[in-house]
Symmetry: C2
Subunit: 240 residues, 2 copies
């Protein structure tokens, strides 16, 4: 499934950049002719039209889309787009931007799964920049693509992983890769923080990990491997 991004303003452009880097398939819906010129230059897939029209969203493939992101400037239009999109696809993941106070509730009521308010986040970030400046630096480094020293990522354990049933200590993950597992979102939906070394891993758990990108990549390969768990154990035994 692909994503539909409605609006190519400052926020929309930023989302496109992140999606293109991953890469994640997406199409932009934009009506402003000047902005459409910019879109064509960035060579993103786009559709000229109004995202509040059924027809435009149908053309953008809303029936088969995985998600829609509504980031036009006006709250009224974001509510209208959300309502239209929800009507056309009840299973769609809808993420919407809220500007003015009070629009969060309206966007949720219209069918948005998640609402982000740049003002609230910006205010919180500014307070934290004074209250916990080093924590903020740490998080910016861990979440930013440009800082290669550290990354925070999530890794899903597939049903075919050789590590199912192992605990964090017996898996050898820390010793083999140097990555820290700071949380596990259990398949049940429960989040376990700072999991202890005897915590067992189950299929479809999501590991929240902190480490160097290359180390995280190595851990991803291990987790997705069926026979690596046995290999690591045999290797360790031979060296004891």
């Amino acid at each position: 499934g692909h994503y539909i991004i409605c609006g190519f303003g400052r926020i929309g452009a930023l989302i496109c950049k992140e999606f293109a880097a991953k890469p994640l398939p997406f199409v932009v819906v934009e009506n402003d002719p000047l902005v459409v010129d910019k879109l064509a230059q960035d060579s993103y897939l786009f559709l000229r039209g109004n995202a509040t029209d059924d027809e435009t969203l149908l053309k953008a493939g809303i029936k088969k889309a995985k998600g829609l992101i509504s980031v036009v400037t006006s709250d009224t239009e974001n509510v209208y787009i959300t309502l239209t999109a929800r009507g056309l696809n009840p299973d769609l993941y809808i993420l919407a931007r809220s500007g003015e106070e009070g629009s969060e509730i309206k966007l949720k009521r219209a069918g948005a799964n998640k609402v982000v308010s740049p003002y609230l986040i910006g205010g919180s970030r500014m307070a934290q920049a004074i209250l916990r400046p080093n924590v903020m630096d740490f998080i910016e480094i861990a979440t930013g693509r440009e800082h290669l020293e550290l990354q925070i990522e999530e890794i899903v354990i597939p049903a075919t992983s050789g590590f199912i049933g192992e605990n964090l200590a017996s898996s050898g993950f820390r010793r083999e890769t140097g990555v820290i597992i700071v949380g596990i979102k259990k398949a049940s939906g429960k989040m376990v923080f700072n999991p202890e070394s005897h915590t067992h891993m189950e299929a479809h758990d999501t590991l929240i990990v902190l480490g160097q990108p290359t180390a995280i990549f190595k851990l991803e390969e291990l987790v997705n491997c069926g026979k690596c768990a046995d290999d690591i154990k045999r290797h360790r035994k031979n060296h004891e």
Copy 2:
């Protein structure tokens, strides 16, 4: 030293709330009579006046202030406030909000130490909500005051701490409190990520820690204690 918050809009109000919760001393400068009414209701210390005037900033105690946060709506005014404030106090920490693209550079040139753009942060957050939803939840829980299961905090090691010269393993921090140390900002300014157990602690290092608030509080007490390092060692020896 206190902080001067210029502008009590959505972002300014949010910063005041966080500062009042810590608590951190601050005074708000606001000119709009309607907004001033709201300030009086919230019982925050405030000054009615224009933050672009030397006189107003002098009345707000800028000569002795620790920092100034410029969060009025207009970029032009934020630049002007930053320029005025820097002229009155060369040592002041100035944090400014940027709205339109391109104002970041002007705010820095005017003398801001750090510039935050709610649009950039909002866009990045929305992309991450799709790319790494569990990581985003984890960070929201760790940085939000309302979630008591997990906190990320920073703890400075004072020159009088009994743990100076110890390494992370010998300190017993993890065993005694359950807190994970995910980073150390060294006194030199260098940030060490996922520090290894043999990493030594020096005076004025800042520990970046992840754990339950009560556990972090316990670790703070340990770090600030002169004789606890010896107590822990003696206690451990007696139990061996």
